[in-house]
């Protein structure tokens, strides 16, 4: 029998599959439904200090090889999200599924205040999404684009909470490993990689970008090779665990991610391609494939692509 359990910062996940932030994680019952569908952990949609309405539609599209989205980080704000998390915790308790609260901010202080409010709901982890533009510098550059800024955010969040902190990195940088090293040194307990890849679609009949925001983030099958490369480069350089996210739709994709060095595996867009069953299907396929290849545990396979 194959054992799919993994250890993430001292928490035992019954399987490595983690619902990615922004996909379905809007309310307690929905988070519980994803947990019941077999996820090893669930992440809430990223929230900010104040509520945000997000961008006008179109905000999410499927384009044949993946999704593109520019939801604009619509969320009900930290106070409301804390209530959602507290409610979700009750529903998830019998399933023993940890909950990851995702947060973002436009200034370092906002990150810290949001983390503080969210901590009051006692999520099992806090995920710090540093991929949105940094208003402080007024260039619209995300914190994730600058190792020093990424480290500052990490330190600020670590200073206000005792809950393990996962920092979520953007692939839209020259050297993702450098950013990973910076957040590890700043005290991050884990890394989630990757967030979406910047992109655009144009409608030729309208002669304009389709997303109301013009540009958005690519996810799904098209970005798997990018995500694998990022996870590989990060795990070559840091010791903290990585949640490998991006384009995982099958058990084989998940195994590739683990072989690249991931401790857990994020699943987002697959929910579109395979429905909520994605979590159970990916697990079954992962276990079957590992069995066929003669592996008995995730630990045995993790990072083996580095050895060749």
């Amino acid at each position: 029998m194959v054992n799919l359990g993994v250890d993430l910062c001292g928490y035992r996940l019954k399987n490595p599959l983690v619902l990615a932030s922004g996909v379905l994680g809007t309310g307690p019952e929905l988070l519980a439904r994803v947990a019941e569908a077999g996820a090893g952990a669930v992440t809430t949609k990223s929230c900010s200090l104040a509520p945000r309405r997000g961008h006008p539609n179109p905000t999410v599209l499927e384009w044949g090889h993946g999704l593109i989205n520019a939801v604009g980080l619509a969320n009900p704000g930290a106070e409301a999200m804390a209530r959602i998390i507290a409610e979700a915790k009750k529903l998830l308790a019998p399933l023993k599924t940890p909950i990851i609260a995702s947060i973002f901010g436009s200034t370092i202080e906002e990150f810290a205040r949001t983390a503080h409010i969210i901590s009051s709901a006692s999520p099992d982890f806090i995920e710090v999404n540093i991929s949105c533009p940094n208003v402080e510098e007024e260039f619209g550059r995300p914190f994730a684009a600058d190792p020093e800024a990424a480290a500052k955010v990490t330190r600020a969040v670590k200073a206000v909470t005792s809950i393990p902190v996962i920092v979520k990195l953007s692939p839209n940088v020259t050297d993702i490993a450098e950013v990973a090293c910076a957040v590890e040194e700043a005290g991050a307990d884990a890394i989630c990689a990757i967030n979406t890849v910047a992109g655009m679609l144009i409608d030729v009949y309208a002669g304009r970008p389709i997303l109301a925001n013009r540009t958005g983030g690519l996810s799904g099958p098209a970005i798997k090779p990018i995500a694998l490369r990022c996870v590989y480069e990060i795990t070559q350089n840091v010791k903290i665990p990585v949640i490998g996210t991006g384009g995982v739709t099958t058990g084989k994709d998940a195994l590739e991610m683990i072989m690249a060095g991931a401790t857990a595996v994020g699943v987002g867009s697959a929910v579109y391609y395979r429905g909520l069953q994605a979590f159970n299907l990916i697990q079954e396929e992962l276990a079957d494939l590992m069995q066929k290849l003669g592996y008995r545990s995730i630990e045995e396979v993790r990072g083996i692509a580095h050895r060749s």
């Binding site: 309310g27 019952e29 579109y272």
Partner: protein, 243 residues
């Protein structure tokens, strides 16, 4: 599996019909393959993209009530102009039994006309209760009659048909009509009242619900109602699923 266009596809407008002061029907040049109750996302480049139920699939027909910025701009569109559609999305109505009672309020009548057409083609007998605030706001009355449906009207001001809301008329009609099932679409309050009636009479019922739609295909979570997704698990849900 019917074809789903996930990226917006341009459809030319062939005909625009005024249904009432606030409601227009757009007949488009093109087809889709859909189940009554399914919806499409309609994109007006530079404006927004919003969900609308299909009134027909070949040709594609939508009926739009003017309620805000997007629907006002849509109402400006003329034959020859282009609308961009993606979909159809969601779960539609299933025809349960041979004697259907359809209950629509406001633009909620739109998907029910599509359902009535399919049900009649299948040989079902169909009673349609159409509700509105006043006589001028009742829509599709003649369309239902042309399909051979029994039409029952309810206006809140009593200007035509029964004076009161659609569910009150339904309560009166059920003992004599004895339908096999109820299908409803309309404002939240109407659906709640219909739910109570269906539970009381132990009638299978399906309702079309609304919520804020972004993706339309079950990833963004924007349309969640207590753990179910209006866009993917709905918009049509059977009463037993929704309780």
């Amino acid at each position: 599996m019917p074809t789903v266009h996930n990226l917006p596809v341009p459809f030319a407008i062939k005909l625009v019909k005024d249904e009432s002061l606030k409601v227009k029907t757009f007949i488009l040049d093109g087809k889709l393959e859909a189940i009554p109750g399914q919806f499409v996302m309609v994109w007006l480049p530079g404006v927004d993209e919003k969900p609308f139920s299909l009134v027909n699939d070949s040709p594609v027909v939508i009926t739009v009530a003017r309620v805000g910025p997007f629907t006002s701009q849509l109402h400006e569109k003329k034959p020859g102009d282009t609308l961009w559609l993606r979909g159809p999305y969601g779960k539609g109505f299933s025809i349960e039994g041979n004697k259907l009672l359809l209950v629509g309020g406001g633009y909620g009548v739109a998907p029910l006309l599509f359902l009535a057409r399919r049900a009649r083609a299948q040989g079902c007998s169909v009673d349609a209760v159409i509700g509105a605030r006043c006589a001028e706001e009742l829509i599709f009355v003649e369309d239902f009659r042309a399909l051979g449906c029994q039409v029952h009207l309810a206006t809140e001001d009593g200007s035509l048909g029964f004076r009161g809301k659609a569910p009150e008329l339904v309560e009166k009609l059920i003992p004599e009509l004895r339908p096999d099932s109820i299908c409803g679409c309309g404002p939240e309050g109407m659906l709640e009242a219909l739910s109570e009636i269906a539970v009381f009479w132990k009638l299978p019922a399906q309702f079309s619900y609304e919520s804020y739609i972004r993706c339309g295909f079950g990833v963004c979570g924007s349309c969640e109602r207590k753990g179910w997704l209006v866009c993917r698990d709905g918009p049509v849900r059977s009463l037993s699923q929704s309780l």
